[in-house]
């Protein structure tokens, strides 16, 4: 059988479907010391792990918003040293996973979690408009919300926005608490799908390994294929088996 008989056919290159992930990270003063160090390590782990997956490298795109004193959307394409405006961030705030370079975060200030979540939701809304304008397919985007405390700004409205957007299936939110001062009750208000999980000690590396594996699973599926099975969070989360 002549395999080359159809050698003349040509294929088309369509843009890859995108999976947007916003890492919404607490860099308030209390994160100082071991916590921010391990978080930075975790981000480096993520950088390595996600690049192992060819499809994920092409399809997953990452934005980083920190909240410590102020809310900053990092310019991930330029080393994470600059803060981007909303419009700029929608265009340039996301970097393909294959090009993700872990920034070095420093801890300072209080915890404007409400403002941070609002910004994350706004960023994803704008990003989806860009996808639609360019006929790019997309998976349901993710927000990974990480905090070691409680919000110090008005957060009620942002939490409600977050829950509503989840209910509309416009986003998936994973709230994660770090340390004994993490206000898990408030955290639980930021998601209607997943109860907040407490990080096991400082298992940031395990968390970001899990994140990378989960994103591989999602981006390896069809954008329209429905539910994907994610790896269990036990390696990094304290799973409550008390009831």
């Amino acid at each position: 059988m002549n395999e080359d008989s159809l050698a003349a056919v040509e294929f088309i290159e369509n843009p890859e479907p995108r999976c947007a992930v916003v890492l919404l990270l607490d860099t308030s003063y209390s994160m100082n010391g071991d916590r921010i160090q391990q978080l930075n390590d975790g981000l480096r782990t993520f950088e390595e792990a996600i690049k192992q997956d060819r499809l994920a490298s092409l399809r997953v795109e990452v934005a980083l918003i920190t909240f410590g004193g102020e809310v900053r959307t990092l310019d991930m394409r330029e080393g994470g040293t600059r803060d981007l405006s909303d419009q700029e961030a929608a265009q340039n705030g996301f970097v393909a996973a294959g090009e993700f370079q872990a920034p070095l975060l420093v801890a300072q200030g209080n915890t404007p979690m409400g403002a941070a979540m609002s910004r994350a939701l706004r960023l994803l809304r704008l990003r989806k408009e860009i996808y639609k304008d360019n006929s790019v397919e997309y998976y349901r985007p993710w927000i990974l919300l990480l905090t070691d405390g409680a919000p110090t700004d008005p957060w009620d409205w942002a939490a409600r926005e977050a829950r509503d957007e989840e209910q509309r299936k416009g986003v998936v939110i994973y709230p994660i608490g770090v340390g004994s001062d993490a206000d898990m009750t408030t955290l639980s208000q930021f998601s209607s799908t997943y109860p907040p999980l407490l990080l096991r000690g400082l298992a940031f590396r395990e968390l970001f390994q899990w994140l990378s594996a989960s994103l591989s699973a999602v981006s390896g599926s069809s954008p329209t294929g429905g539910q994907v099975k994610l790896p269990p969070p036990n390696p990094w989360a304290v799973v409550d088996t008390s009831h």
Binding site: M1, I12, T224
Partner: protein, 267 residues
């Protein structure tokens, strides 16, 4: 396969994605050449996340082929009747899947898409619930997208035959114009041969494909398609299951009214 009017065949290949996840290939197709010169094509893409998706896909294919065979025997002569019959066929197939469901194997575990085509008596009729693609070539050589995915509100939605009251998601395409080629594919391969922004067929794929396969030994069409889906270029382009089914008009009708297509070969 060739029946004096049409020649055709198909191929379905397992993508590396499923091999990675240990799941079976879930694309299924059938090409049926009926004695009177009519052709039936059915393609089903089992949902990756559904446990019994392959079984669902196979059941769907078998039941729709049975239903379509009966429709051909009846031979509808107007668009409205074809539309009704297609709806009934999908409804019947959904019911058959429901009958297979049990507590251990709920209906949603059989989740699958279903795409089908009937070529009979000058009519070309297609029905789909799901995200497959059908491209046809008209007499003057124009490529037309006859069926494309109906997307839900969010990019992550696909409609499956196993959903409640699925006929509301059924799309039907009917033509009484002369058609000289039909290609049916599932979403894994569609992204390599269609421009996704507006679902237009990629000419540089279809033209050489149809031109070549018009001239090969008709019984080898399936083998050629298998080799194509198995080629390095396709493997590198997608890790999803791939399917391509083709029907090519054997006798190119001249500028003849539709009725004469039922007559003897014009060659």
């Amino acid at each position: 396969m060739q029946n004096g009017h049409w020649r055709g065949g198909g191929a379905s290949l397992c993508g590396t994605r499923h091999a990675r996840l240990g799941a079976p290939c879930q694309d299924v197709h059938r090409y049926v050449s009926l004695e009177g010169g009519s052709v039936l094509i059915a393609v089903a893409d089992g949902a990756g996340s559904a446990e019994n998706a392959l079984e669902g896909a196979e059941l769907a294919i078998n039941h729709i082929i049975t239903a379509l065979t009966e429709i051909v025997a009846e031979g509808p002569t107007d668009e409205e009747t074809w539309h009704t019959r297609m709806r009934e066929a999908f409804d019947r197939t959904h019911t058959a899947l429901r009958a297979q469901a049990s507590e251990e194997k709920p209906l949603r575990s059989f989740a699958t898409t279903l795409t089908c085509v009937v070529l009979h008596g000058g009519w070309s009729v297609a029905g789909q619930i799901g995200d497959g693609v059908i491209v046809v070539e008209t007499l003057d050589g124009t490529l037309v997208t006859a069926m494309r995915p109906r997307r839900g509100e969010y990019a992550t939605d696909t409609y499956f035959l196993t959903m409640p009251d699925p006929v509301q998601y059924l799309d039907v395409w009917i033509s009484h114009e002369p058609i000289i080629a039909v290609a049916v594919t599932t979403d894994g391969f569609a992204r390599l041969i269609m421009r996704l922004s507006d679902y237009t067929p990629h000419g540089p794929f279809f033209r050489p494909l149809l031109d070549t396969l018009r001239h090969v030994d008709e019984d080898t069409i399936g083998t050629h398609l298998t080799a194509l889906l198995n080629s390095e270029r396709v493997r590198n382009g997608t890790d999803d299951d791939t399917t391509l089914v083709l029907a090519l008009r054997d006798a190119l009708p001249l500028d003849a009214p539709a009725e004469t297509l039922e007559g003897p070969s014009l060659l």
